[in-house]
């Protein structure tokens, strides 16, 4: 192996420090005995215990999970449908306009999306609560799902669907039995993306949340304005842990799938 040059080692250290130093400090101080965030007074896990007793945080966490699951699921269904139509429907009048419009929310400032949704909900007299957050999150995460799914559909061999039709499937059966299982990885990663986006959204949620329902990011943000407590550190550490475990699991699964496929193909080459 080539030895790392002095320059490369320095850039690597600085780069990672830039990325991870804030988080490392946050994690360390979550185990702080003292109530003062900046003063180290010895190791303790008492803030984690206290967090478990904090009803307000637990309620907010529960709302966040509900919103994330519901909105990412609805967004996945709608986003997949939109992607399918845009990739498959061929040329129809206004196609370019439609495909442009589905991507527009990606670049739209969140404040504007949030404000417009707020005005809409007020306009139609919908009380702000968990339902409105779900609707709002579905709206903006749907286009992310559609981007992920349509990039997979573009490379999808259409003759597979034709083969399914040829063997007696109705168009819907061919989608359900052939297309969907094959594009499933893209649909799942679309769902995961929508889930994460919903989980950490603050701006749109604060426009559309009502007194009856608050999400965790809103709760954290408002708590921090009154002063950072080690409890927040503990909560953030838990969230970092969950995300880390999720990412590692996903990469292990995909790595194993690749290895399996390679082994299968080698086996096929031997028996050929």
């Amino acid at each position: 192996m080539r030895r790392m040059t002095w320059f490369n080692a320095t850039s690597l250290t600085l780069g990672f420090a830039f990325l991870y130093l804030p988080m490392v400090i946050l994690v360390i101080y979550s185990f702080n005995e003292s109530k003062l965030v900046t003063v180290w007074a010895g190791f303790s896990t008492k803030w984690y215990g206290e967090l478990l007793g904090n009803e307000a945080f637990l309620d907010a966490a529960w709302v966040t999970v509900q919103v994330a699951v519901a909105s990412s699921t609805i967004a996945t269904v709608l986003g997949t449908m939109a992607a399918y139509v845009l990739v498959r429907a061929g040329r129809f009048y206004g196609r370019t306009l439609f495909s442009g419009m589905i991507y527009a929310p990606l670049v739209m400032p969140e404040v504007i999306t949030g404000l417009s949704l707020l005005l809409l909900f007020i306009g139609i007299g919908l009380d702000r609560g968990i339902l409105t957050i779900i609707l709002a999150h579905t709206t903006f995460s749907m286009c992310y799902v559609s981007v992920v799914v349509s990039s997979r559909l573009v490379s999808f061999d259409r003759s597979l669907e034709e083969a399914a039709l040829d063997l007696g499937c109705t168009p819907f059966e061919s989608f359900r039995l052939v297309t969907l299982p094959i594009i499933a990885p893209a649909v799942i990663s679309g769902w995961l993306l929508a889930f994460t986006l919903s989980l950490d959204d603050l701006v749109i949620a604060s426009f559309t949340a009502g007194p009856s329902a608050t999400t965790l990011p809103i709760k954290i943000f408002s708590a921090v304005r009154l002063g950072v407590s080690p409890e927040i550190n503990a909560l953030s550490t838990i969230m970092i842990a969950i995300v880390t475990v999720g990412v590692i699991t996903a990469s292990i699964i995909s790595k194993r799938a690749t290895l399996m496929q390679q082994r299968d193909e080698q086996a096929a080459a031997r028996t050929a």
């Binding site: 083969a163 040829d166 063997l167």
Partner: protein, 374 residues
């Protein structure tokens, strides 16, 4: 003849399985199929042969129901197919890319169409087993498509398309992805399976050798039209045009003017070259422009002047293509015309006398060439 020859197209009482009636297909302002009418009979192995872009794949996709004719009618077993979707047609197709479902095993791929029909489980089992046996895939039933070789995938695709026992099987360049040796074996296998199952096969190919090997009739296509439909032997021996003669195999084409003689036509074709004599059943007006097509293997080559040949010309060997079993001699005639003569290498290389720059005689009988109008 004691043996009955399979030729339903010559029997006026036979009803065709497939009828194309004045079918035209346009994509925008491009005409893929141009006012085409053609009958195909049950149990035929019908080959659509032509260069890419000649419309052969479009014809097949219209039969499968993936394209609809712009004008005209397509009938299968007497029923008009207009408005019948692909899943309601008694037709199955084997795709060029095989289109095997990657998430299903070989067994499930073959069973796919049967399950869609709502067939009972025992019957599905029996039918899939039968198909696996027919295509010699029993050992691979549990594998996924990416776990088997290209030749095996091709057989899975065939088994899957035959499983529903369609009236008509469409094969889109079925052997394109296989190497030469495997392709030859598979061609005979296809013919064998076609005879065993009694299914009508329509195959699309650009490989003339493949079409000749498998087909009962070959349709040579060019720019959305069928130029000639006939058995492989007729296509090769009696092409109806220079296009067909040139597309199928190797051929020498000599352009000249036809003049009726005692038992055929005398062809004058180049200054200082002997008049050629051809026997043909076609009639040409005196002086009419014609093309004489002669296959290289029907041209003899010798160092001495042949005494009893109906046609002979003199030239010099420019090139020899040694193919192992055959050698093709490229001979330049006095007027600059290049002609090819093909000789079977029945003797060992060292015993052969002709070599580069030798002056030789080319000769052929008066029935060997075909005289064409265009």
């Amino acid at each position: 003849m004691a043996q009955t020859v399979f030729a339903p197209w010559d029997d006026p009482n036979e009803k065709p399985l497939i009828q194309f009636r004045n079918v035209t297909k346009r994509f925008g302002d491009f005409t893929a199929i141009d006012n085409l009418s053609q009958d195909i009979y049950a149990r035929e192995f019908f080959a659509l042969l032509g260069p890419s872009g000649c419309g052969k794949t479009t014809m097949m996709r219209m039969l499968a129901g993936f394209e609809t004719p712009t004008e005209g009618q397509i009938l299968i077993a007497g029923q008009d197919m207009a408005g019948v979707p692909p899943n309601k047609r008694p037709v199955n197709m084997m795709f060029q890319s095989y289109a095997l479902f990657p998430h299903l095993s070989v067994w499930e791929n073959i069973a796919f169409g049967l399950k869609r029909e709502g067939m009972e489980k025992d019957k599905v089992d029996a039918r899939v087993t039968e198909m696996l046996r027919l295509t010699r895939l029993e050992r691979f039933a549990k594998r996924k498509p990416h776990q088997i070789s290209g030749g095996q995938r091709q057989r899975v695709a065939l088994a899957r398309s035959l499983a529903k026992a369609p009236k008509l099987l469409l094969l889109d360049e079925p052997l394109g992805a296989l190497d030469a040796k495997l392709r030859q074996d598979t061609q005979f296998e296809l013919v064998d399976i076609q005879e065993k199952t009694g299914t009508t096969f329509v195959i699309v190919t650009h490989d003339q050798e493949e079409a000749m090997t498998v087909a009962s009739r070959v349709a040579v296509m060019d720019e959305g039209r069928i130029v000639q439909v006939a058995t492989p032997a007729v296509i090769y021996e009696q092409p109806n045009s220079v296009y067909v003669a040139d597309f199928i195999g190797d051929v020498n084409i000599i352009e000249g003017a036809a003049n009726p003689s005692a038992d055929g036509y005398d062809i004058t074709w180049a200054e200082g070259q002997p008049i050629l004599h051809v026997k043909t059943e076609k009639t040409f007006a005196p002086g009419q422009k014609c093309f004489l097509a002669i296959r290289p293997e029907k041209v003899g080559i010798s160092a001495e002047e042949p005494t009893d040949a109906a046609n002979k010309v003199q030239g010099q060997i420019i090139d020899i293509a040694y193919l192992g079993n055959l050698s093709t001699y490229h001979v330049k005639l006095a007027d600059g015309t290049m002609m090819k003569a093909q000789i079977a290498n029945t003797r060992r290389l060292s015993r052969r006398s002709l070599t580069w720059e030798d002056n030789v005689w080319l000769s052929w009988t008066d029935t060997a060439p075909v005289l064409l109008e265009s």
